[in-house]
């Protein structure tokens, strides 16, 4: 193994540069070694920097149109926003059942004046009729849990992008999507994202923000 002295110094410098550059890249790529998946990074970012919800025209299950920002800002309650599509047979079925139980919990705790649920469909096929059907199936009480669709493609895209919700078409006409509970505060800012498998934590977080003891 011949290893000339001049070359070894140059190589040591190159090695140092590569190691520093590589470590910096890994640090950046993993949000400071805290998140390996896009979803984890999204949740981290929202927790650190609350995100204003963009405007979008919502179509209610009752057929009436409302502006999302108004809907959030005028309501005065902490909102748990979820995204679904009505035909879903997998993740949002689980989510639907959880939302149903959360609705019962909110009513049982007498918190319906401080916390509520909003579910938005990202499926363009979900019109007022489909939403009404879904609401009936889930026994949603409009006072606590409202269902909406978005008619305008661009507005839907923008809202999903802002929330960081990615919808991928899957086999059998299904969609795969990153399901979660999105906590939106009284000012219409997205402040926290909690996993769809943790409905109790999501409800506790919303109640805490509403000033309820957990």
């Amino acid at each position: 193994m011949n290893w000339p002295r001049s070359s070894s110094r140059a190589t040591a410098l190159a090695l140092l540069a590569v190691t520093l550059g590589g470590s910096a890249a890994l640090y950046y790529g993993s949000s400071g070694f805290r998140a390996l998946s896009t979803e984890a990074a999204r949740r981290l970012q929202v927790a650190e920097n609350p995100l204003p919800v963009p405007p979008a025209r919502l179509l209610g299950a009752d057929g009436a149109a409302t502006e999302l920002t108004d809907e959030l800002a005028l309501d005065g309650r902490i909102t748990l926003v979820t995204f679904i599509y009505a035909r879903c047979q997998s993740v949002c079925r689980v989510l639907g059942t959880e939302l149903q139980q959360m609705q019962d919990q909110i009513r049982a705790r007498g918190a319906a004046s401080r916390v509520r649920l909003v579910t938005i469909s990202f499926d363009p096929r979900d019109d007022a009729q489909a939403l009404t059907g879904y609401g009936r199936m889930m026994h949603s009480d409009p006072e606590v849990w409202r269902l909406y669709g978005i008619e305008d493609d661009r507005e839907r895209r923008r809202l999903l992008d802002a929330f960081g919700v990615v919808v991928v078409p899957a086999p059998l006409g299904e969609f795969e999507h990153n399901a979660a509970f999105h906590v939106v505060d009284r000012n219409g800012n997205l402040v926290r994202i909690l996993d769809y498998t943790a409905p109790d934590a999501a409800l506790d977080d919303a109640l805490a923000r509403a000033g309820d003891p957990a």
Binding site: A14, L26, S30, L36, S37, T38, G164
Partner: protein, 193 residues
Amino acid sequence: MKRWSGPVLLVLLVATRSWLETTMLRHMLVQLPLLIVCGALLRPWLRLPASTARWDAQGLATLTAAAFITAYWMIPRALEQALVHPLAAGMKFASLLLLGALLPGALRRAHVVVQLFFVANICAMMAIAGMLYRELPQRLCNAYLLDDQGLTGSSLVGLALALGVAWCIANARHVADPADFTDGDQATGRLRE
């Protein structure tokens, strides 16, 4: 003819980019390795300066960079950023092409023991990442399906094993003939990709 294989492959990779990137398996196990191969084939056009060797004794700098670059593009978030951010996509192409261009020279300079260290390191890392991709119940990339992720994981484990075995076969003679062990120049191996 051979001179044109690099540019042709590069054009193909750019043209099929969106198709290759629609599934995680094609993205990680077809596009990324082919970019490294493409970098190696582009060497006649890149004309890396001869002084590269001075900065890269025993291929140490390049092989270290190889470990970092392969680790980086196995981070699910990094892979997904390359889908949506043009800058990340550019960095992906640039880093892997450059790695491919530097790797053959680095392997030629690296002693078999140095090669063993890095090959073992990279293969172990790839196999562990593959096992994680396979076993995790949640999706790591929002853009890819869970089944795709499992398949990618299995393939990463497979690639790690294949690379390790290929390196062993290419360097078997060093073990068979200990006298050959000291000959750093011969330890080229056939692990060009």
